[in-house]
């Protein structure tokens, strides 16, 4: 299939960026989206031009490195996949594909389509863990977890931290990401001990780094490649309110 690509190019965080148009011919529909970009880069290098920089690593949808806002949708038109698992058969011959980086104040562009998502790490550092040192942990089966809670916790813990929720949200809100971690730990008995402190600190950092507010449009849920539910946001709101009033 033949394609026209309009890709955001920006040489550095402080440089001005612009869209550059490329054309690609005879792309196999079985090609993954990132492999399509590989082909483009190979051609650009052979022509002596600068390739397009984009983030990627595992290419099996689990590391959360790949991003890309493709034709108005984070991770492109397919549901429940990351860009690395998106395939060209989801596009039509002759399509024009516009590729942009994630846009959010806390996700500044590093180069071309690469953004800096360390804001997520900062939020986790505020309390996205259980404060336990190595060694001295109790016998594993001394902590019982009900199966439904373990399942719900796992649903939330499946978050890969890619940032699609922020990219999709009209307010660039990180509520789905933060709430997934709050829910994952809050649903387990071992995570309850510091649950109040956790939610307060993580939300404070989420606000401080400049993410927007949730207006319950649920674009995050619709674009999440791991199908993290908005119920987690409700749970975090509840935990936060309880933590504040108690």
């Amino acid at each position: 299939m033949n394609l026209t690509l309009k890709i955001w190019k920006q040489s550095g965080p402080k440089e001005k960026g612009k869209f550059v148009t490329y054309t690609l011919k005879e792309i196999s529909p079985n090609c993954s989206f990132l492999e399509m970009l590989d082909i483009l880069n190979e051609q650009l290098i052979n022509k002596g031009e600068e390739p397009v920089a984009f983030d990627h690593d595992c290419r099996e949808g689990i590391c959360g490195t790949c991003s890309l806002y493709i034709n108005g949708r984070p991770h492109g038109p397919d549901d429940a996949v990351t860009t690395c698992q998106l395939h060209m058969r989801k596009f039509k011959d002759g399509d024009t594909i516009i590729i942009e980086p994630w846009r959010a104040k806390p996700f500044p562009v590093v180069k071309d389509l690469i953004v800096d998502r360390s804001a997520f790490d900062k939020i986790i550092q505020e309390g996205g863990y259980i404060s336990v040192n190595t060694g001295g942990a109790a016998e594993a089966n001394s902590i019982l977890v009900s199966k439904p809670n373990a399942e719900l916790s796992m649903d939330a813990a499946a978050c890969i931290g890619c940032g699609a929720c922020v990219a999709a949200c009209k307010n660039a809100s990180a509520m789905l990401f933060v709430s997934a971690k709050v829910a994952h730990l809050g649903l387990l008995p071992q995570g309850r001990i510091e649950a109040k402190e956790r939610v307060k600190k993580m939300v404070a950092m989420m606000d401080a780094v400049g993410f927007g507010n949730c207006t319950n449009t649920y674009a995050c849920e619709a674009e999440c490649p791991k199908l993290i539910s908005r119920s987690n946001i409700a749970r975090m709101n509840r935990e936060f309110m309880c933590a504040k009033v108690s």
């Binding site: 196999s28 079985n30 090609c31 993954s32 990132l34 492999e35 082909i39 190979e42 290098i45 052979n46 002596g48 031009e49 600068e50 920089a53 983030d55 690593d57 595992c58 290419r59 689990i62 590391c63 959360g64 490195t65 397919d78 690395c84 698992q85 395939h87 180069k111 690469i114 800096d116 998502r117 360390s118 790490d121 550092q125 505020e126 996205g128 863990y129 259980i130 336990v132 040192n133 190595t134 060694g135 942990a137 109790a138 594993a140 089966n141 902590i143 019982l144 009900s146 199966k147 373990a150 916790s153 796992m154 813990a157 499946a158 890969i160 931290g161 994952h184 730990l185 071992q190 995570g191």
Partner: protein, 645 residues
């Protein structure tokens, strides 16, 4: 040829680790603050080590090339993590886990290390549960176990098909906590370029900031490598795109030994290659072989037609199907071990019976199981895998059989380490997949996660103190010392040399070419002539690389092509050593299969007389390596032949 001393404690196997800990040197809390440790890599080994060392009070600097420590490739592990908890009451024990691991590794692993691994396996589960890893649970709330290959007991703990992810997020959480407390400093998007050795001891690294392209000098009283495996030397593998051997290769060139590089694991059930543009192979869980039947057409004409998309698998009649695993291995059938299944698939495809567009695929058919158990049961067992397959291949595996092919998955070889996980360079340690120690010639499922966390949480934090106790008098060094100066200069020269080539071919071109050579001659089945050819071709390709590679952009900016070029340059040297080691090892064992050394039935023919040793290679100069042997002595285990018929 000097014999290597692994510094294994004396006395009975079961008491070695306890005795070691009882008598080792420790560093007191005030001195810990004065000691800096550099950790490279943030996977299970690196993150858990950095967190644990930070908790102890050391000053830790941790480096990763990814944008976040949470993205290290440990995250992609699916199946689970082994531990000898014996929760199902099925007779498991530390000894049994130890025994299975040694046997699974075809008697090429170091006994004392493996025993320690089994010993601390239970602590890992306790630790991870305390961290909030959402392991699967029984209805009563206790932890659930499942069975895995190579064991008669159910000892695998799991969190759906994302165990690696959950364990890594646990370690990442522990690391994040230390980052907040300030005991650990993170350098993300930094790639380690060179080790700094001062007076024979590892004292720091030169790292490149991947965003600005600047070279940085970092001092450490000790340096810890948790940099993963080298599977990407084959270009196509289940590894992440960025996984590389460079850190290990740089220290190899500085005097650390590289052990058993030829021990690579090929996983039989991966989604096949579908075109030249392919960048990555996706693993489909081994568990599929429990209910799937593997076959190819009996007639070449049918295979040919399938390749040309003239017929579908369904159109091939039952009597025209060759269930080759069931035919060749009636006892184990489709459940033969990974290496056997992989080789058998390759054999059929090489003989012209392969299917799919490229002819490099075999069918994994669930038709019989669906008929026998119903679609619902199959969906319950493998629903997510079927879905993943459909997303990638665009074919419904409930209706058409899956197509699979083996792919490079894991590398058992790595930097040689002693019992304390120290390399041959004092003060330099290697953990997890980066070292060679625990899996011998073949790794069992659910053991990689166990090893990464064992090393990081429970082994290194002890053993490193035995070394650091002697370093408390060493003040933090100024990075303007000539050794840092020199190391940085060598990195700069190398980068300049790469940039100066200004050739015509992309880095990926060379990587793909290398991958083809490796896969063809150093892949699933190896022979002397092929290996010699491979070495020749790799050398030629390396020479071409340095003459004709084209790296656009500048060195002093973010430059993904330059990053790749550095890694591929190292793979081009490493591939040669891999082939050389395979050539040296005149036997077949585990993942290393030499066609000359097989039984009449095509099984591995080990040569314990001559090759029951760890092959540790020393770098002399480009293309020249010196072999050192660490003999393997089995005191507690009777060495046997692995038979699967």
């Amino acid at each position: 040829m000097a014999e290597l001393n692994a510094k294994v404690p004396t006395g009975p196997l079961a008491g070695k680790w306890t005795r070691y800990k009882d008598h080792q040197n420790l560093v007191n809390p005030t001195n810990k603050r004065k000691l800096d440790i550099i950790v490279v890599g943030t996977g299970l080994g690196g993150a858990s080590a950095a967190a644990s060392l930070g908790e102890l009070g050391f000053n830790v600097k941790i480096f990763c090339y990814q944008d976040s420590p949470r993205r290290a490739h440990s995250i992609a592990a699916q199946g689970g993590i082994n531990a000898a908890k014996n929760y199902p009451n099925d007779g498991d024990s530390i000894y049994r886990l130890f025994y299975d691991t040694i046997k699974g590794g075809d008697y090429r692993a170091r006994e004392s290390n493996v025993y320690r691994l089994a010993e601390v396996s239970n602590n890992i589960i306790d630790q991870c549960v305390a961290q909030g890893v959402p392991f699967a649970r029984e209805y009563g709330g206790s932890l659930e176990n499942r069975s895995f290959g190579g064991a008669l007991v159910s000892r695998t703990f799991f969190a759906r098909g994302q165990t690696g992810q959950q364990l890594l997020l646990g370690a990442y959480g522990a690391l994040s906590r230390q980052l907040k407390l300030g005991t650990v400093t993170l350098y993300n998007r930094h790639e380690m370029q060179e080790l700094v050795v001062i007076d024979g001891k590892a004292r720091g690294i030169i790292a490149r900031d991947l965003v600005t392209g600047k070279l940085e000098r970092h001092f450490g009283h000790a340096v810890v490598f948790a940099t993963g495996g080298y599977g990407n030397v084959f270009y196509l593998s289940t590894n992440a795109m960025g996984s590389n051997v460079s850190a290990c290769w740089q220290v190899f060139k500085k005097g650390a030994y590289f052990a058993n590089p030829c021990f690579t694991q090929i996983h039989p059930t991966c989604i096949p290659v579908h075109g030249d543009y392919q960048s990555k192979l996706t693993l489909m869980s081994e568990s599929l072989r429990n209910d799937g039947r593997i076959w190819v057409p009996k007639n070449k004409e049918d295979a040919e037609k399938h390749r040309k998309r003239l017929i579908k698998a369904k159109d091939i009649k039952e009597e025209d199907r060759d269930y080759y695993l069931e035919r060749r291995y009636p006892a184990y059938g489709n459940l033969v071990p990974r290496d056997v299944a992989s080789r058998a698939a390759k054999e059929r495809c090489d003989a012209g019976y392969g299917v799919g567009d490229t002819g490099l695929a075999v069918f994994l058919d669930f038709e019989a199981s669906i008929k026998r158990l119903g679609k619902q049961v199959i969906e319950e067992r493998y629903g997510n895998l079927f879905q993943m397959y459909e997303k990638i291949v665009d074919e419904n595996p409930y209706e058409n059989p899956m197509m699979i092919y083996p792919a490079v998955h894991y590398t058992m070889g790595g930097i040689w380490v002693d019992y304390e996980l120290m390399t041959t360079i004092p003060g330099l340690y290697a953990l997890g997949e980066a070292n060679f120690s625990d899996h011998g010639a073949n790794r069992l499922g659910a053991s990689a996660l166990m090893q990464g966390l064992a090393d990081g949480y429970f082994v290194l934090p002890y053993t490193i103190q035995n070394y650091l106790a002697g370093e408390i008098g060493v003040k933090r060094m100024d990075t303007s010392k000539p050794e840092f100066e020199e190391a940085e200069k060598s990195v700069r020269d190398r980068i300049e040399k790469l940039m100066a080539v200004k050739g015509n071919k992309s880095v990926d071109h060379f990587h793909k070419e290398l991958g083809k050579i490796m896969w063809e001659y150093v892949g699933m089945a190896r022979n002397e002539a092929g290996l010699k050819k491979a070495i020749e071709q790799i050398r030629a390709l390396r020479a071409e690389f340095w003459k004709d590679v084209r790296i656009p952009g500048l060195a002093g900016e973010m430059n993904p092509e330059l990053e790749k070029a550095g890694r591929v340059a190292d793979f081009l040297e490493m591939g040669e050593l891999l082939a050389l080691d395979a050539l040296n090892r005149n036997e077949s064992c585990g993942g290393h299969f030499r066609e000359e050394y097989q039984t009449d039935e095509g099984e591995c023919l080990r040569n314990d007389q001559d090759y029951m040793y760890v092959a540790a290679w020393e770098y002399l100069k480009e293309g020249e390596f010196q072999l050192h042997k660490e003999p393997l002595k089995y005191e507690e285990i009777e060495v046997k032949q692995r038979i699967y018929k």
